[in-house]
């Protein structure tokens, strides 16, 4: 191996600074959320305590954050499942190059680049003009899908662009029906990338703000609740909440990454069933 050049070290320092820039602020509020009861929004720390975390459990201090957390979590799961199913179906559909697929493709791109506030405004207007009530599980759910589906589909396009068609041909030659080919050949091969789609679906929904602003109705999701707090809460309880929800996000990300890693290993170990014989 040739020795590291000087530019490597310069770039490595740049990269380290970039990571510090990315994570530094979050780590800072993580530390500050352990402020003592008399502490403020900035350093210095006035003692350390769990005071602000305890405050999170008192309704009058922060409002209904646990209710909104529950709604955000449930909505995240709903969006995740829908995103995975619809993206896989959409990805499979696009392989067939059906008439009108170009229009649909540009709609997906539009969905990705449209300013979020337009979705919020448009869906909000649609519901109010037709006399329907906006609710996080209907209008909020649909609005969030316009943000998660493009990501899911882009991942599926990337996956199917690299998909080796000869596996399907082999299955077909061995007499598998289209459904059997899909179920026993295609889906197992693309399964690891579906974990990625699920990760995007859940986290983007869980953190979405702009698209749910006018479409969540009278029950807030967690990001809306947090944003409401920024205007009237000036104590480290805000940081405590930020630390908790970031920790929750990290746990979910870790969970998804572990499944991805585990399924990749499983695939490597049991990818071939040569010699086992299928009955």
């Amino acid at each position: 191996m040739e020795p590291r050049s000087r530019s490597f070290y310069l770039l490595a320092i740049f990269f380290a600074l970039f990571l510090l820039f990315l994570y530094g602020p979050t780590i800072t509020i993580g530390i500050l959320s352990f402020q003592g009861p008399g502490g403020g929004l900035t350093f210095p720390m006035r003692g350390t305590s769990l005071h602000w975390f305890r405050d999170l459990f008192e309704q009058q201090a922060v409002g209904d954050i646990w209710g909104s957390f529950g709604r955000s979590f449930l909505l995240g799961l709903m969006v995740m499942v829908t995103t995975v199913v619809v993206s896989v179906m959409g990805g499979l559909a696009f392989r067939k190059r059906f008439p009108g697929s170009t229009v649909l493709f540009y709609l997906i791109i539009t969905s990705l680049v449209i300013p979020s506030i337009l979705i919020s405004l448009g869906v909000g207007l649609m519901f109010s003009q037709t006399g329907l009530d906006v609710h996080w599980s209907t209008s909020g759910f649909g609005s969030q899908l316009t943000w998660t589906l493009p990501f899911g589909l882009l991942i599926m396009f990337a996956v199917f662009n690299r998909f080796d068609k000869s596996y399907e041909e082999a299955a077909r030659d061995l007499g598998a029906s289209p459904w059997q080919t899909l179920r026993h050949v295609v889906l197992p091969i693309i399964a690891p990338s579906l974990i990625g789609v699920a990760l995007f679906g859940f986290t983007l929904s869980y953190d979405e703000f702009a698209r749910t602003l006018l479409t969540a109705g009278s029950y807030n999701t967690l990001p809306l609740e947090i944003f409401g707090m920024t205007t009237n809460v000036t104590t480290p309880v805000l940081y405590a909440l930020g630390t908790l929800t970031t920790a929750f996000s990290l746990i979910m990300i870790g969970f998804f990454l572990c499944i991805a890693w585990w399924s990749a290993r499983r695939k490597a170990r049991t990818g071939s069933d040569a010699g086992k014989g299928l009955v």
Binding site: A12, I29, M89, G90, I108, P115, L118, L125, G242
Partner: protein, 287 residues
Amino acid sequence: MEKLLRNKAISGWLMAAPLTLVLAFFLVLPIVLIVVVSFWRATEFSIIPAFVWENYEFLFGSSVTYQVFLNTFKYAAITWALTLVIGFTVAYFLAFHVRTQTWQIALFLLCTIPFWTSNIIRMISWIPFLGRNGIANSTLISWGVIDEPLEWLLFSDFAVILAFVHLYTLFMVVPIFNTMMRIDKSLIEAARDAGASGVQILWNVIIPLTKPGIMIGTIFVVTLVMGDFITVRFMSGSQSANVGRLISNDIALLAYPSAAATAVVLLLTVLIVIGILLRFVDIRREL
């Protein structure tokens, strides 16, 4: 053969149906409705179906509009330049200087993890840094660089741009890294064998081959910044405005027709920008 083709079309449509339905109901219909409502009339308490141009006349007749659009472009341009330089450098390091794939994946994941956490929390987390008594000010004072705390760190255009770069650089890193990983390494060796210096390789080989990734990253960053309203509101402490804020202010006043007119102009602007950018890249081929 023809029957088979038709079958393929039908089965394709069937599988694309859920996607089409979602986009029809939550993307196309809302846009149509926004366009329709932009011609409506508003009173203080309600909005009335009509076909008048007054919302647009008011929008284009006000000098505020032009200032705000100019400001929006300014944010987009500065953020674009910064994210491009930072994102390219980071992707270049990951793709060409990190040697094992395991490390590449690990470091790449480290860059992407913040993207999956809350944007609002990431904005809030700048307060202890940039505040009047924040880390930046107290450090600068203790170093003797300044005597008085700087007032323009938080709640200023500086803070807005900083937050944009913080939130959106990732959207540059990922597509650029993706295209760089597909560059045939032998091309670089060939350039080196032919006597090119490091800078020449970067300028004449790597950058041209990375252009599609740069374009995709540009599309992401430009549209995210142009459509934003929450970062500007939070980080500028409501002192600066962009088009998104103009819309959200109208919404807060229940002036939906006026908000809709602004939204239509914003959407057209964004789509024109994207249309120009898409001339330089075929997204479907780059995935």
